[in-house]
């Protein structure tokens, strides 16, 4: 027994020190991200409202194919396609891909848009399951609906890439709402540097609580339930801090699957989306870095905060848990698939900084965080570590957590001001503090479950989500 205690005593201290070092490293990175994001946001060009965006940007756009993969979306898909059809953009087509839905998604779309079977020439440039039928309508010449056998979201997007004929495609979730000028704004990096830019991501915001009319967010408000409120702060942190900062140094490792624009040819060159990955959005970006660095081709992947896509966040713990577990599995799959990039100078800043960041946050982060929550208080209680050590840990986890979350809010308020009332800022500040006590810890547990599922080889194709629907006016 004494030997066991001795072993515990001698190993626990280095483990605790390791946890502290990793937490410190994470927080230092967050701090740097905040500073970089602040300057990037300050420098960005501002355009006032959709009509000014149309006036200023319409002449320098490139044609886009909007790819809308859908699986069991019969309740929302028609309204969302209608909303996409009214986007302010000079030249775009919508390709909605029904990925073998079990409900009446296809029937709903066929009926709503008077679709008929058509022939459309395409090449199999990236792999996907068999296409059963293609539909079109003379009433909506820029809408094409593809009905294919079930293969998952990535597979559906690949089918869309094959059918698209424009130089750019935009992957957008069937349940998300794009702001009317989102495409105009998001395509600007392609217009500014058409040869180098291969991908652009825009901001995804939580639509829960917002008022929606005819597929458009007409009034921005906050959700009333705590779970969705936590996610509002989380999304601000992810998009306004992390992505802006990484984009600034061309080491962006993730463009959200809900809203991203890519150069079609570049995507074909890397083989399209990986149908076997649950984190197909992240995997595509990492693949871009890997491929173009190996080929020594100059490229850029950018994030810009102004184009906004609104999405409905899970408002129940059960569904949120499912989503986060899936995200964690996706990150791990991508990391280990491309692990050779880790720290490898051949892959430039993506290999030297971007990939170690994934290691620190997504690979080491979840188990270290959970272990810290369990081990450090126990060690302090047992007297293995002193109060100073324990206090340093608490400061890193909770105090720094508050700083980072509130810091993201500060960025939002200084530069974007999307929440119109002062009262909303007060509420968000409170949430940014409270989320550090409980919500973050639950998230760590979900991520460790995701870890477990990854290690035990669990697979999945579509992240099914039960939706409450947007607040309509």
């Amino acid at each position: 027994m004494q030997t066991l205690y001795a072993v515990f005593y001698t190993t626990a201290l280095p483990v605790a020190a390791g946890i502290l070092v990793i937490s410190l490293a994470q927080n230092v990175i967050y701090l740097i991200q905040l500073i970089v994001a602040f300057f990037a946001l300050k420098d960005r060009l501002r355009v006032r409202g959709p009509s000014e965006a149309w006036k200023l940007m319409r002449d320098t756009t490139m044609p886009i194919s909007l790819l809308v993969p859908a699986y069991n979306e019969e309740t929302t898909v028609v309204e969302n396609i209608r909303s996409l059809l009214t986007l302010h953009y000079p030249n775009f087509e919508i390709i909605m891909i029904n990925d073998g839905s079990k409900d009446d998604t296809l029937e709903a779309v066929i009926a709503a848009f008077s679709l008929l079977p058509i022939e459309r020439s395409y090449d199999i440039e990236v792999p996907h399951q068999k296409i059963r039928n293609i539909y079109g309508s003379s009433r909506h010449p820029n809408l094409t609906v593809v009905d294919k056998e079930n293969g998952g979201k990535a597979d559906a997007l690949n089918a869309g890439i094959n059918l698209s004929r424009f130089p750019l495609f935009c992957a957008v979730d069937a349940d998300s709402l794009l702001e009317s000028d989102a495409l105009l704004r998001a395509v600007q990096p392609f217009s500014e540097d058409p040869e180098r830019v291969i991908g652009v991501g825009g901001t995804v915001r939580i639509a829960n609580g917002c008022k929606v009319r005819a597929g458009r967010v007409v009034s921005v408000d906050l959700p009333t339930d705590l779970i969705s409120l936590f996610q509002v702060v989380e999304y601000l942190r992810a998009f306004l801090m992390a992505r802006i900062a990484w984009s600034r140094i061309n080491a962006l490792m993730m463009v959200s699957g809900a809203f991203g624009i890519f150069r079609r040819r570049a995507s074909v060159e890397v083989g399209g989306y990986d149908p076997n990955s649950v984190g197909e959005d992240m995997e595509l970006i990492v693949k871009f870095h890997r491929h173009f660095r190996e080929k020594k081709v100059d490229y850029e992947i950018r994030f810009i905060p102004d184009p906004v896509c609104w999405t409905e966040a899970p408002d129940s713990l059960r569904i949120l848990a499912r989503q986060r577990i899936r995200w964690q599995r996706g990150s791990l799959e991508t990391f280990f698939k491309h692990v050779r990039m880790l720290g490898n100078p051949r892959y430039g800043i993506a290999g030297v900084l971007g990939f170690p960041h994934i290691l620190l946050i997504d690979v080491l982060g979840p188990p270290v965080e959970l272990l810290g929550y369990l081990l450090i208080p126990a060690l302090w209680f047992l007297g293995v570590i002193n109060w100073d050590f324990f206090a340093a840990y608490l400061a890193l986890v909770f105090v720094f957590g508050i700083f980072v979350s509130v810091g993201s809010l500060i960025l939002e308020e200084l530069e974007l001001k999307r929440y119109p009332r002062a009262g909303q800022l007060v509420l968000l500040t409170l949430i940014a503090v409270v989320e550090n006590f409980g919500y973050r810890q639950i998230n760590s547990v979900w991520r460790v479950v995701g870890y477990w599922q990854y290690l035990t080889g669990r697979k999945g194709k579509w992240g099914e989500m039960t939706r409450s629907g947007f607040t309509k006016v």
Partner: protein
Amino acid sequence: MILAAVSIVIMIALVFRRLRIQKRQAWWNTRKQVLTPAVFAFLDGTPFDAPLRLSLGKSDIRPLQEIAHDLISSVRGDARDKLITLLVEVGGVADNTRRLQSAREWERLQAVRNLSLYPKENVEAVLRKSLDDASNHVSIAAAKALIDMDVEISVRELTEKFFSGGGAKSLALREIFRRIAPNQTTALRRMLSEQTTEPVKLLSIDALGTVRDYSSIPAIMEQCASPSINVRAEAMRALATIGHPDAMPTILTGLDDGAWEVRAQAAVGAGRVGIDAAIPQLSGLLDDQEWWVRFRAAEALKKIGGKGQKLLTSAAKGPSRAARVAGLVLSQDGG
């Protein structure tokens, strides 16, 4: 601990700042409510309400500008001229010229955009100065504004401003080249014969193609022999856009080019010009390695019609990739 406390204090300060912004926004809206009917009355012929004019404060310039700018895009003729006169009278030019001194790029850009609405004589000198702005966004916006005002900017001047450091690549420059092209075809052709950089060549070819300038066909045809794939493909695209039979020999040569981008554009050209002599080559391209070339070749055969269409119909039989693309193109748009 200090960091978290500081961030919360900053956030509290921002909440107060937001309250002030909300107050200012309320003032702004009130002023707009007062000024909008006066502007409409002014457009209807009533002189700009004298008491109101007297009551205009210094800070009213911005809301008034906003109202006028929003209206300008939807009115024409006299009404537009009157709005612009009004903006000049209330000091819009001076206000925006001041904004051009701002350290913020977006502020200067906004000022250039605003100034583009004013009469040439009031703003040409200021906008010309902005051509030298440190930001490409601002200088490109200034160039666009000047061109919209029919101020002549030579191709050489543009080239020196935007391409001296290796070459800006913004699509906005393509738009600028297209706009100046109708009056400057000779200068654009000269750009092709001189030792200019590839981006300049590409923009010049595109601009000449867009204006469909027949006299430029020989110069563009010469570019189809360039060692650069981009230049050859752009030149072939321009020839396809112009669609003149004089380009036939070059298009036929392009169908055998080593780069698929050039072959695809040549196929488009063959279809648009309707070159019967291209049918054998197009038939061969139905089995090209690259899908886009196969697709464009099939489209061209369909467009040429007659013998081309017949060949496409017979090619559509069988399981080959040529048959697949031929069949799909034939059945597209009702065959």
